[in-house]
């Protein structure tokens, strides 16, 4: 009986089942990469020895313990979460704008979130002490969330008319937004003192190096909200691919869907930018590859993008750790080196396709 229904669902041209198998494969891949990343670093410490000793209740070398549990493990968790959040934000934005070029980094949403974060770093001290204390570590992610949210709304308002997004307007609005945000960030940098300046510079290059459990704990809820919330939009985004009017005809409350999408993008990008700075291109590379492989249906696309986004960011982070060891190349630079050419390739391939 089960077997029969299984055959019945294997409709020709429907890539759902292949997408499900891809999910399994990507989960395995992420697990392997995650474990591997615990081994890779400036010191040759075996995580197995540390975990084994911990489980056996034996005393562990303090240095090894710190490296594995307090440096590499939070960094692993942070990398996976940031990668997943950025990739999912990319899928949701592309679905919302009905365009595969809508990447949070390219159209200025990350920059907007970044401005929020920078303002929090530089001006955080000016807040009423009670409020500042209440927000604590959460100040930077929350500010980035607000900045990201404002950017998405601004961009959508400018680029979309009657449910139709003009790609040219979207990209141009992104440039304008980035310029404006860049100028405001410049003002902030001008105001910053030496310590803040150093923080800002390193943060802006994009890095997971500063990952700690306390930082992670603060940014995690927002990223988890985005990653877990996005699959709820899968059906709405599928219908939206046929246009706003068709989506409404299929029973979708468009306004509600847009509001949820903006919150998801802002939460994912805001939190990711707040903890890792300017890591770009995850949101365009990952969904694009998966669309080529398993099709654009958003249900599997969102889940697979989260998995592949996490995997790619962990891989890029490993490269960043070993390529100039014992120093580190910021991961943002590595993603830009991969993502820049990729974006150009997508542009070349799409020239003349469906009016884009």
């Amino acid at each position: 009986m089960v077997a029969m229904t299984d055959i019945g669902t294997a409709s020709l041209g429907d890539r759902t089942r292949f997408a499900r198998r891809t999910t399994v494969a990507l989960t395995v891949l992420l697990a392997i990469v995650s474990v591997t990343s615990l081994f890779v670093g400036a010191t040759g410490i075996s995580p197995f020895a540390v975990v084994g000793a911990l489980l056996a209740g034996e005393p562990v070398d303090t240095a090894a313990r710190v490296v594995i549990l307090d440096i590499r493990l939070p960094r692993l968790a942070m990398g996976a979460l940031v990668g997943a959040a950025l990739a999912v934000a990319g899928v949701v934005m592309q679905g919302l704008f009905r365009n595969p070029l809508a990447d949070p980094g390219i159209v200025g949403v990350s920059a907007g979130a970044g401005l929020g974060a920078i303002m929090a770093i530089v001006l955080g001290g000016l807040l009423p002490p009670a409020l500042g204390a209440a927000l604590g570590y959460a100040l930077v992610p929350v500010a980035a969330f607000v900045g990201g949210g404002i950017s998405v709304i601004l961009l959508y308002t400018v680029a979309t008319k009657n449910g139709q997004t003009s790609v040219a307007t979207m990209l141009l609005a992104g440039i304008a937004l980035a310029a404006l945000v860049g100028a405001l960030s410049g003002v902030m940098v001008y105001m910053a003192d030496d310590t803040q300046l150093r923080d800002l510079t390193f943060w802006g290059l994009g890095s997971l190096a500063g990952a700690t459990w306390s930082k992670l704990l603060v940014a995690m809820p927002l990223m988890v909200l985005g990653i877990v919330g996005a699959p709820l939009l899968a059906r709405s985004l599928d219908t939206l691919a046929l246009g706003e009017v068709a989506a409404r005809h299929m029973g979708i409350d468009i306004q509600r869907m847009k509001r949820i999408a903006v919150v998801i993008v802002a939460a994912s990008v805001g939190a990711a930018v707040a903890v890792s700075g300017g890591i770009g291109f995850v949101g365009i590379v990952v969904p694009h590859l998966l669309r080529l492989l398993t099709g654009p249906a958003h249900g599997p696309l969102i889940i697979n993008s989260a998995l592949l986004g996490a995997t790619i960011l962990l891989l890029a982070d490993m490269i960043s750790r070993v390529i100039v060891a014992p120093a580190e190349l910021p991961i943002g630079i590595i993603m830009a080196l991969i993502g820049g050419p990729f974006f150009l390739w997508v542009l070349l391939k799409r020239r003349g396709f469906a009016g884009v």
Binding site: A10, S11, R248
Partner: protein, 252 residues
């Protein structure tokens, strides 16, 4: 029953519908005809919840101004003149977006004669084929014309405008069958001959009004058509019975 009473729509200060009365019965194909700019598409938009209006419009017990999108979606499906698809879906994935089960996808593609196109990229199809895929998608949304004794509605905006004659007939047959099984069909039509062949009721629009609605032989007459379209149109009857339209009369 689908009814509109004294429907008024203004867009950017221009009055598009000026008090439209319209009625469509379940079990019938109701055609909306009229010249370009007479308000056909706007009326359809109002009847599908895509356009705000003054006046009253009801689909059975549903007040169209109040109904939620998902309430409407369960009762009626809409085929637009053109549907743009944003991402590289396959044909069968586009049909799946209609929300039907996978076996329904196959059945619907079979209904529009595109079974063997299921695995093809949607964007590689011709305009007419794409329109038939959209019809299949729309059909999955209201697959059973009657649901718990209540009629469902198939609303078609110029469903045959990009099709060759064989597929025009095929699509109109699908509409007829849907009506014969108890559902209601409302279609905006440009081809008056097809209208005469397939419609039970015709609403003729001109200048933002339904100037006349009724059976084919009462509405498609020399006087009403010539008045509405602003050119001389002559209606004739073919020998076995059935109305046809002769545009050549304009040059006589």
């Amino acid at each position: 029953m689908l009814t509109a009473t004294n429907l008024r729509v203004s867009i950017d200060g221009t009055e598009i519908l000026r008090g439209v009365d319209f009625v469509a019965q379940p079990g019938e194909v109701t055609a909306i005809v009229g010249p370009n700019g007479s308000g056909k598409s706007t009326l359809l938009a109002a009847l599908t919840g895509a356009q705000d209006y003054d006046g009253e419009a009801r689909m059975g017990v549903l007040d169209l101004a109040q109904a939620k999108p998902w309430e409407l979606a369960a009762r009626r499906a809409v085929l637009a003149q053109f549907t743009s698809v944003a991402f590289p879906f396959t044909v069968s994935e586009v049909v799946r977006i209609g929300g039907g089960a996978p076996d329904l996808t196959e059945a619907a593609l079979g209904r529009v004669g595109l079974t063997h196109y299921a695995a093809r990229p949607y964007h590689a199809l011709s305009g007419g084929e794409q329109q038939r895929v959209q019809l299949a998608r729309v059909l999955t949304q209201v697959w059973r014309p009657m649901d718990a004794g209540v009629a469902r509605w198939l609303i078609l905006d110029e469903p045959v405008s990009s099709l060759d004659i064989a597929h025009q007939l095929e699509v109109m047959e699908i509409a007829r069958t849907f009506a014969a099984e108890g559902g209601g069909v409302v279609a905006v039509m440009h081809d008056l001959n097809l209208t005469a062949m397939f419609a039970d009721s015709v609403a003729l629009m001109a200048g933002g009004l339904v100037v006349r609605q009724g059976p084919v032989d009462e509405v498609l007459t020399n006087e009403t058509l010539s008045g509405a379209y602003g050119c001389r149109v002559q209606v004739n009857t073919a020998p076995p019975g059935g109305t046809f339209v002769l545009p050549q009369a304009a040059q006589a």
